[in-house]
């Protein structure tokens, strides 16, 4: 991990309330799928933790939702050519074992973006079945990235595009046919809870990337902890953000 003064190449809306930020580092960094960056926003004491969607050499893309003043400032303040302070790559990220050939991805909301980094890394070596949930047809974005999957199911809450329902429901309708060796997930906590209970007792592991308010982002301040079923606490930023879903208490 390094703190880098990057140069913004592009920062634009790709869907309602969703922005895509691409910046250039002065030299390439190796990023594993599911790792994240802490992004400094001028005038705000805390950096924003944002999953890395794409990393190609020195070009890195993050996608984020406009949620509060900080992300709105990030969207309005940083245009092409501006300098932006980023700390990256952070966290453990997703990994797929050699023997795991059939991979299911279950993503909801901004949770689809870290899963795009998995598709980019593994689409050629693995059979990937992707279940991606959005609120509505107008929220669907980055389909050209999602189509790297062997099979892509888009789900919308209102049924305006693709499967009517959640990504978890779409996945569970197909689970017997797909028989995944491993499931990788990211999305809001209620989605992960639903996935955890739906996957309980199945013979595949589920790894999920968690979201939490963070302080330092590097594992020092113990702000972003989660509880594990063995009674211990783990740091989402350093020990995670990816955990075995069976081992975290949501």
């Amino acid at each position: 991990m390094r703190e880098i003064n990057a140069t913004v190449l592009e920062n634009c809306a790709i869907a309602p309330e969703i922005y895509s930020l691409t910046f250039a580092l002065e030299q390439p960094v190796r990023v594993r799928p599911g790792q994240f960056a802490m992004v400094g926003v001028d005038g705000f004491p805390l950096r924003r933790p944002i999953a890395i969607c794409k990393a190609e050499g020195e070009r890195v893309t993050l996608c984020y939702r406009l949620r509060g003043e900080g992300t709105r400032r990030l969207a309005s303040r940083y245009s092409r050519g501006e300098k932006i302070s980023v700390l990256l790559p952070l966290g453990n990220g997703f990994s797929v074992a050699e023997k795991e050939k059939r991979v299911a991805l279950v993503g909801g909301g901004v949770g689809i973006f870290p899963l795009i980094s998995v598709l980019r890394e593994y689409a050629e070596q693995k059979e990937i079945y992707a279940y991606m949930g959005f609120r509505s047809r107008g929220d669907v974005c980055l389909q050209y990235e999602l189509q790297r999957a062997k099979e892509l199911t888009v789900a919308t809450d209102d049924g305006s595009s693709g499967f009517c329902g959640t990504a978890v429901q779409a996945f569970m309708e197909n689970v017997e046919r797909v028989r995944p060796d491993v499931v990788l997930a990211c999305g809001p906590t209620p989605m992960l809870r639903a996935l955890k209970s739906a996957a309980a007792g199945r013979d595949f592991p589920v790894y999920a990337s968690l979201e939490e308010r963070m302080g330092c982002g590097v594992g020092a301040c113990l702000v972003c902890v989660c509880a594990l079923s063995d009674g211990s606490r783990a740091r989402v930023c350093k020990d995670g953000p990816v955990f075995d879903l069976g081992e975290v208490i949501l």
Partner: protein, 309 residues
């Protein structure tokens, strides 16, 4: 090249810049970003006799120019620190062990255990985020004096710093109380108790409801308190509260601080501490200051002999 060295309670520090307790763990994570041996000292995460799980999440929130935290002293316990981190950290720089307890006897046990093993003990009697101990022992001057005396009596070799809460009636009186109790030095300020509310959910953002306010926005409050405390006692003071750059650190030193701690800015800028060290060097060079120590307490009041608070 100016001399940035300072002497704190008889212990030489290569410079006065110290990451503050709770923002820096035991230094290992930040050492992946830069060599932490450039720092004057490291102040550890608050330690207790037994491991502690801390508060529920969210533990952090942001408001204009400040943050609020309610971590609640999560730590692996003093024995784990001694076994796994202390020797590594001592090889890097001076070590300040921040210690907390549930009751007064815990402070004595913690001090006895760490005596001679670390360069300083910092007595945490000002954490606003725990129910027992913490700030409850750090508000009334008689409690400050008492817990300081008990801690000091358990120490034979390591100097004792007492970390003062700003959530008190008179910082000068509490500073004098710690001095009477036998403190070798003071550090201040800990965080101000605050609250921020999510207006959509109509609930406090922090799971703990309240938290400690820190960051650039508290700096003038902290500078005033450091001035008052350092002029009320003979023992040295470590100043902190909203330091973001070398110029901020110099304000605290001119107000009377021998060294400074940097907390929240480590989150804003992971390289804040080494940048402050470099900034102090530049400032000394451009101002013809040969020894940084000479700026300590050098601020002169305008037209009066003491602060009217």
């Amino acid at each position: 090249m100016s001399d940035l060295g300072v002497t704190l309670c008889g212990v030489a520090l290569k410079n006065p810049v110290i990451p503050a307790s709770g923002t820096f763990g035991f230094g290992r994570e930040f050492d992946e970003l830069y060599d932490i041996s450039v720092l004057g000292a490291v102040c550890t995460k608050g330690l207790t006799l037994e491991p502690r799980a801390g508060n529920p999440t969210p533990r952090i929130a942001e408001s204009r120019g400040v943050i609020l935290n309610a971590v609640g002293l999560q730590n692996p316990g003093v024995e784990h620190f001694i076994a796994h981190d202390l020797n590594w950290l001592k090889n890097k720089t001076r070590v300040i062990a921040n210690v907390a307890g549930r009751e007064i006897g815990d402070y004595a046990k913690m001090c006895a255990r760490l005596d001679g093993l670390v360069d300083f003990i910092e007595l945490n009697i000002s954490c606003p985020n725990v129910k027992c101990g913490g700030m409850s022992l750090g508000v009334r001057p008689e409690d400050v004096e008492n817990v300081t005396r008990v801690a000091k009596n358990a120490l034979k070799r390591t100097p004792l710093l007492v970390k003062l809460s700003p959530n008190v009636e008179s910082i000068a009186e509490n500073a004098r109380a710690a001095e009477r109790g036998g403190a070798d030095g003071l550090s201040l300020v800990n965080t101000f108790t605050g609250m921020t509310i999510d207006i959509e959910r109509r609930r406090p953002v922090l799971a703990n409801n309240t938290g400690g306010v820190s960051g650039a926005g508290i700096k003038p409050l902290a500078v005033r308190m450091v001035y008052e405390a350092s002029h009320a006692v003979r023992i040295p003071v470590v100043g902190m509260g909203g330091i973001t750059c070398a110029e901020d650190a110099l304000e605290f030193m001119m107000a009377g601080a021998t060294a400074v701690q940097v907390g929240t800015q480590n989150f804003t800028d992971a390289l804040a501490c080494p940048k402050i060290v470099a900034g102090l060097e530049r400032w000394c060079a451009s101002h013809g200051v040969e020894k940084l120590e000479s700026v300590i307490g050098s601020a002169v009041l305008n037209g009066q002999r003491s602060l009217k608070c």
